[in-house]
Amino acid sequence: MTATTYQAGEIQGLIEIDASKCKGCDACKKFCPTQAIVGASGAAHSIVKDRCLSCGQCMINCPFGAIKETHSALDRVIRKLADKDTTVVGIIAPAVRVAIGEEFGLGTGELVTGKLYGAMNKAGFKIFDCNFAADLTIMEEGSEFIHRLHATVKGEEHAGALPQFTSCCPAWVRYLEGNFPSLLPHLSTAKSPQQMAGTVAKTYGAKVYDMEPEKIFTIAVMPCTAKKVEASRPEFNSAWHYNHEHGAHAAEYPDVDAVLTTREMAQLLKLLKIDLATTPAYDGDSLFAQYTGAGTIFGTTGGVMEAALRTAHKVLTDTEMAKLDLEPVRGLEGVKEADVTLFDKQLGQEVTVKVAVVHDMGNNIEPILRDVAAGTSPYHFIEVMNCAGGCVNGGGQPVQGTGSSWIGNIG
């Protein structure tokens, strides 16, 4: 067999270029983090699927609308919504709530959480806010960071590697797995919020919803195309394993059954004739719709780090951060950094935690990784997101007018 960068069962070649529409203008190449797009200027381009991270940046930036996704779960989702024997759980990512309104004539960036809950509830979804899972991610990833920090300071033998990288962004995880596998010990072992949400929905959630896990169909609504590939990773069937060990006999099922992008969710609501813009706000139907400010900022660059430090500060010092807004990690600079000095009660000494935040990964990550590999990185904790600006600008978000809108003018 020839070498591949995919595990058996994973979605391959998610992003494809339509040769009949491609003008060979090279615009896409400027947005590709891994130089996966090949073809001479003027000739139709194509994507080398083993290099492709499925981030969709080329797609949302193609001036000719020539790039498309090959996998859509829309039909399956419609069938499951119609099936009375199935509970359909919609897992809503943070960045969806500030973008989906654009597809219904609302302003860019308008926060529509309540309306989105309402529209999805009307469509037949149970609401599982991925922000709840983001909060859960902070508990796990933050605890892991504190564990690694303390073990390193105490000089313990099997202290986890520092700096610790965040592991929420599937394009970033795939990039590291394929290009710098020697640095994998630095990656947090916490699953992404999407995968935590799917697993929790089919274990603890089955108790909360009071039903058989195999009758729960989890659909993640994501600003991201790479999340489809992440959900298809064969190891993400922890809920099935857990339920199996506790006496269930159902056939194997994944933690996340299907992923819809923000665009596809808008398409679904339109097919069902639900106008999000005029839908009354709804509060959600279970504890899984409860989330915090820390959970919601996961959708933008710097958000994971800000959320993690808020909790790390509380755990290390036993007091809440005096000022929760962490300005240095906000904004669109390619690499942002911050220092937090605090008195660590458990160690009984002052500790300065140095963190970095990287986005627009293709342009900014390599120097950081070279330092980490050389052991000269000054940081303890590094957040990485592939897309410029983070998930708010993900490949699954509504495409802003610079797509194919002007092409009519030049015939």
């Binding site: 070498a3 960068t5 595990q7 003008k23 203008c25 400027k30 001479a40 200027s41 003027g42 930036n61 001036p63 943070p94 709530r97 500030v98 302003g107 860019t108 960036g109 926060l111 959480t113 709840f132 909060d135 859960l136 508990m139 796990e140 892991e144 564990h147 592991s167 797995e177 394929g178 994998l184 072992t189 916490a190 697993t199 929790v200 190891e235 922890s238 394993h241 504890l287 409860q290 989330y291 915090t292 820390a294 919601t296 900022i297 959708g299 933008t300 660059t301 959320a307 808020r310 909790t311 509380k314 906000r330 669109l332 410029a388 600006g389 708010v392 600008n393 802003q400 610079t402 002007w406």
Partner: protein, 105 residues
């Protein structure tokens, strides 16, 4: 050895049919993108990224609880079911392992 000083100039003006096609295609591709498209694209991208981020920071600012460890639903999850962060169930359900993708076959 001949000393043809004009050799370089002659060469640079000679285009094979193949080369001519390539140059022509590159020209057509460049023409297909309107002047300033890229700069314009990046400027517009900044605008909508900033607007969407502002929406999320607004969601944070209006939230009743702003730190993950005080989310009552998270507390309930751990006390009813999950135990504690990094505990046994967390290890089983909420953590994963990574794959060296250079060694797959």
């Amino acid at each position: 050895m001949t000393k043809k000083t004009h050799l370089f100039a002659e060469d640079s003006f000679f285009l094979s049919r193949r080369k001519f096609m390539a140059v022509g295609a590159a020209f057509v591709a460049a023409m297909a993108i309107p002047v300033g498209w890229f700069a314009n694209k990046l400027a517009r991208r900044n605008d909508y990224i900033k607007a969407r981020s502002a929406g999320l920071y607004q969601d944070d600012a209006i939230a009743k609880v702003r730190v993950s460890h005080r989310n009552p639903a998270i507390e309930k999850y751990y006390s009813d079911f999950g135990g504690e962060p990094l505990g046994h169930i967390s290890h089983e359900l909420l953590h994963t392992h990574f794959v060296d993708r250079t060694k797959l076959s």
